[in-house]
């Protein structure tokens, strides 16, 4: 499958690590807890925004239901993250990884937005498969290992099964959309 810009969160993180010279010490950027929190909230918000576009554009009932679930679930995760940050007195801190994510999301949206009908549905679901694969990879290799606070780490670990379920759901839709071609 061709990969559009911004599809691999981990590659973005690794690119960031290379550009900051931290790859020599570790294969991932060295993020503080406030930065990890910001990356997590940004990653969820990106998926919510694209789902809102899909909700308003798709005519496919299953794709619309998927988009609704993405909005519901990623909003719930962000609400928990915000509540935890408030409890811990942590202010999510903007950083180069979050900025890279937003840039990638903007490029991906620009590629999907002009499409219509089945082409739109396919591009959206392809993006969701790739995005969730990348987010799960980044959770395992970058975000969880970088997190010091036990409660923040637990939240990241707890949301992983939801992202896996989203990925499986998206792959199922991807198969159905491919078969309907």
């Amino acid at each position: 499958m061709p990969r559009s810009p911004g599809y691999s969160l981990l590659s973005l993180l690794l690119t960031f690590a290379v550009s900051t010279g931290s790859l020599a010490q570790t294969a991932a950027p060295d993020l503080s807890d406030p930065e990890v929190a910001h990356v997590a909230v940004t990653a969820n918000s990106i998926d919510i925004d694209l789902a809102k576009l899909a909700q308003s554009r798709t005519g496919n009932r299953a794709v619309k239901q998927f988009a609704t679930t993405m909005i519901t679930d990623h909003s719930a995760v962000n609400a928990q993250a915000s509540a935890l940050a408030t409890k811990l007195g942590v202010t999510p801190k903007d950083n180069a990884v979050s900025q890279s994510l937003l840039k990638g999301a903007s490029e991906a949206r620009a590629a999907i937005e002009p499409l219509k009908g089945k082409a739109f549905d396919k591009a959206y679901i392809d993006r969701e498969v790739a995005y969730h694969e990348a987010v799960i990879d980044a959770l395992d290799k970058v975000l969880v290992p970088n997190t010091s606070n036990a409660e923040l780490k637990k939240l990241l670990v707890d949301v992983r099964p939801a992202f896996e379920a989203h990925l499986a759901h998206a792959k199922k839709l991807q198969g159905a959309l491919g078969a309907a071609k």
Partner: protein, 121 residues
């Protein structure tokens, strides 16, 4: 005085008779076996799965789903028209009384890859 004594003496006999009747009545209706009293079963939703995934119940039993996940879930009958707990937020629960004997597959409407099954005896 004599009549009063007779009446007084008769009361315990009547009371004993009443107790005897009640005891006999009780003996005629044996206590309901525990397994026939409708039971309450708990299905926990955690880690994007139903635990247990397959649950055997008796007709009339109540199944309660409790959502332990951050994200909302439903328990929705796969066969239509059917029962549906509706969206359950974290920590909330929904219930269903099993009325029909047989297998009752169900799923989460929000996450269709999550499936479970009731086996109603």
């Amino acid at each position: 005085m004599k009549r009063g004594s007779r009446r007084f003496a008769g009361l315990p006999i009547a009371a004993l008779a009443a107790i005897g009747v009640l005891a006999l009545a009780g003996a005629a209706v044996p206590p309901r076996p525990t397994e026939l009293v409708p039971q309450r079963h708990i299905v926990e939703i955690r880690g994007m799965a139903f635990h247990p995934e397959v649950l055997e119940v008796r007709r009339g039993d109540t199944v309660v789903w409790i959502n332990r996940d951050i994200v909302p879930h439903t328990a929705t009958a796969s066969r239509k028209p059917g029962w549906n707990t509706g969206p359950l937020l974290q920590g909330k629960s929904g219930r269903h009384v099993a009325r029909r004997v047989g297998e009752a597959p169900y799923f989460c409407e929000l996450h269709p890859i999550m499936v479970g099954k009731l086996i109603v005896r």
